[in-house]
Amino acid sequence: MQTLNQALFIFFAVLAVVSAILLVTRRNIVHGAVFLITTLLSTAGIFLLLEAEFLFIVQVILYVGGIMVLFVFVIMLVNLDDSMRQVQFNRQWFVAGALALVLAAQFLFAIWAGRGALRLPAMAGEISPKNTEAVADALFSHYMLPFEIASILLLVAMIGAVVMAKRRVE
């Protein structure tokens, strides 16, 4: 079952990375959206492997079922045939890519330096299926204030989106 776990991890990881690369490189935005969805789903799978089912569900429902629907929606609202025919990368692409890789190298160095220091506790065969309750407890007791702030943030975002998406009244 270790093998199964690892197989799943490798499957999800490879799927996520590959589709992420495709997202960044593809010309067609709809395809890009689909690849992002794929990445998100495989990330959800990773969550599942990490025994965070609630986050898995949240990821799927909110991210894939909500945010990405919004994305696809907007993509279909803004007509993209012409933007597909244009150059996809801006002038600074080379510098940017190089610097991003430098950043990645730095992180890589950091992780490499600390390799082996971190390890997951061994997983009991049957851990309590109470993940959702645990998250709920933490969220509504210890993280009450941030939760409220997040709700206010959502409200503000909703109003802002409505205002901006509204047809301009000339």
Binding site: T39, L70, L77, A100, L108, I111, R115, N131, M164, R168
Partner: protein
């Protein structure tokens, strides 16, 4: 048993790809999607560390991050729609009037 490093490498890869996408793509929508990618990398890190310490705080923060992502997507897409209605373009390097 999968070492934590693997997860970190994975999230690092996603993060880097996201950064590259944000920095290089001209299409604003794809930039936003790359930002989602970066957020996902962060979420993976939070997951793995919360699993490592056996506490759900990381997951709570991940929830907040997802909330934030939702808000950001809503507002960002709203802006994009408004901009598209006015300027008929979604290319980032054509949105350059906000300077001196």
């Amino acid at each position: 048993m999968i070492p934590v490093d693997y997860y970190l490498f994975l999230s690092l890869a996603l993060f880097t790809i996201g950064v590259i996408g944000v920095l290089t793509r001209r299409n604003v929508i794809i930039m936003l999607m790359s930002i989602e990618l970066i957020l996902n990398a962060v979420n993976i890190n939070l997951m793995v560390f919360s699993r490592m310490w056996g506490s759900v705080d990381g997951q709570v923060f991940a929830i907040f991050i997802i909330t934030d992502a939702a808000a950001e997507a809503a507002v960002g897409l709203g802006i994009i729609l408004a901009f598209f209605h006015n300027r008929e373009t979604v290319l980032a390097d054509e949105m350059d009037i906000m300077k001196w």
